[in-house]
Symmetry: C2
Subunit: 362 residues, 2 copies
């Protein structure tokens, strides 16, 4: 067994060891195929089975109805920031955006290239330390859609439930918390997510789109930027990221084999509670960035009394086998990203380490 | 050793066994890093080294000068079909395209969304069985660029040398023959190529762009579709396909360790000659699709006297361990794709098999 450390990276992030092991075992040749997953044609029966199985397992995990198409695209959430408004902001050419961090802001920037953006709410005044409440949202009932970011990796905040959009189409960038619990997909028009936090390696974007929205997509759009292209061709208009789709399939299977999303959610709540309890019981030594009711289950952000102590903790943690704890420069301090695949044992060990660090340094 | 077969797929395609072995060995954890390449942050020192080394090795292989930027993007050649004209068709908004197959036609379709396309030449009348000659090209000296497809996977044709574009910027889709020999990069404005034939797994697009062309890219372009974004951020404006870049790096190293592109070219010519000689010496039993002076070193396309015999050959070949020989439906017959990583031994064995098949069936 290779020497693996605890990877608290915000993404790309830790993957299930069972998934890595299976991928490793079959990397020279898929069983019975005689070729590596890296080498097989996307037009082969083998890959057809792989992409269809991955899709079916995601459908099962999230209970996605036939009203939706499930796509495996490229370009990350960053390309979706433009594709979403390009495709579905017409004909009204106006949309509502809830701004809860750097990623929402980037989404707004691209949407403004297509039409009018109404900022329904922003949490920027408090350095994005909270999720705006429903009653704060200034919604336009004529908007083409309402866009929000379900989890904010940088600030460690997360929507506990989706905002109420009324009759307006709800669009969610779920890059950093997709599959962390069951959600009611029927509430959404589009859910998109880069794979590299909870689903697989970087280079695949999952898009779940309600089929009636395809009527909004103009035939004049560039072929690769039109959702219809990818729905019509089962995500294989051009060569998809075959390896990435394969790994997503293995991760979906791993989730199904381990009790599905309800079980995953219990584990995620437990892991996050271990860390937040440690913070809350530290008598102010550790101070969470996010307001308590906005706390993320995926990214736990916190500060120490001084920057010096923060640096010391990051350095000593790294020596002890905890990697990726340095917070984003916009918040400073520390960030522990504990996505689905992050083991509970690693969180327990970090908590023990943090308690010892506090005892020695306060 | 896993049971591997000969993979004649047009792409995704065979990769060097040494590359697959190294990737497999380190898939659970990169040496000294403690995390899988699938898990490491693209902002880490480890990945920075990986992407920079991959770039440096490509620069070395192709002798790329400092006047150029080397990018690792997503979306395949299909997205480049739109990005190229979007970025560099202005200010004149007209461009010349040489049409040598299905991929050129797709490129034309996207370019027409941006401006006026002049078809400098097309080989469609002969079902794309040849490369138009320089004297046939109807070039517009005021064009923003001249676009061509260096190798045509479907039809098995290939430019022996780049067309002369005069003072017009030359743009090449080199998806299916990049790195098969040394080229003079200085002749080009942009070279782009999907990775999945000669460079690595699907999901990475290599773009080599001359830096002065960035002046044509408007600041109003969607961020992800603007070459300047990716040049400014060293291909890491957003999370790149980290695993794909890693494999491209291993392939580049493999090429360097095996004598570089001049050696590769010798091997490619040798492999292709084995097959074309077999075809030419078959007294008409095997009939090449491409005219002799347009023949591709990467994709050898040929027909048999009847469709029935073609099906029989494909089926018997598959039983004998030769996969992926069925030709594209636009041409029918057979296609042997013999990219860089395809072993000479496999070509020799196929030739032996074809000769036996002919003896038994003619």
């Amino acid at each position: 067994m290779e020497n693996r450390i605890y990877n608290f990276s915000a993404g790309p992030a830790v993957l299930p060891e069972a998934v890595l092991k299976e991928a490793q075992e079959n990397l020279m040749a898929l069983p019975g195929v005689g070729m590596s997953i890296l080498e097989i044609s996307h037009r082969s029966k083998t890959f057809d089975d792989i992409i269809n199985q991955a899709r079916e397992d995601l459908v099962k995990l999230l209970d996605i109805s036939d009203d939706y198409s499930v796509l495996f695209l490229q370009g990350g959430a960053s390309l979706q920031f433009y594709m979403v408004p390009l495709n579905i902001m017409p004909p009204n050419n106006k949309a509502d955006y809830i701004v809860t961090g750097a990623w929402s802001k980037k989404a707004v920037k691209e949407a403004k290239r297509v039409g009018v953006v109404n900022i329904a709410a922003t949490a920027e005044d408090g350095n994005f330390n909270r999720i705006p409440k429903q009653e704060e949202l200034k919604l336009d009932p004529g908007a083409s859609f309402l866009h929000y970011t379900s989890n904010n990796t940088i600030y460690g905040t997360q929507f506990k439930t989706e905002p109420e959009a009324g009759n307006v189409t709800l669009v969610c960038d779920a890059s950093s918390d997709i599959l962390h619990k069951k959600i009611d997909v029927n509430k959404y028009g589009i859910i998109y997510a880069g794979a590299q936090k909870n689903m697989g390696p970087a280079g695949v974007t999952l898009v779940i789109i309600r089929n009636d929205l395809l009527e909004r997509c103009s035939d004049d759009l560039p072929t690769m930027l039109n959702y219809k292209t990818h729905v019509d061709k089962n995500s294989m208009f051009n060569t998809p990221n075959t390896f990435g789709v394969y790994i997503i399939g293995l991760v979906a299977k791993w989730l199904l084999n381990n009790g599905g999303l309800d079980k995953m959610y219990e584990t995620n709540k437990h892991k996050a509670a271990l860390l937040y309890d440690c913070i809350d019981e530290s008598e102010g030594f550790y101070k969470g960035h996010a307001e308590k009711d906005s706390r993320s289950l995926m990214n736990v952000t916190f500060n120490l009394p001084t920057e010096e102590l923060e640096k010391k903790l990051v350095a000593e943690a790294l020596d002890a086998g905890f990697s990726g704890l340095k917070g984003h420069r916009s918040v400073g301090g520390l960030r522990a990203s504990i996505y689905n695949a992050f083991p509970t044992k690693g969180v327990e060990e970090l908590v023990r380490f943090m308690k010892e660090f506090q005892a020695k340094n306060s």
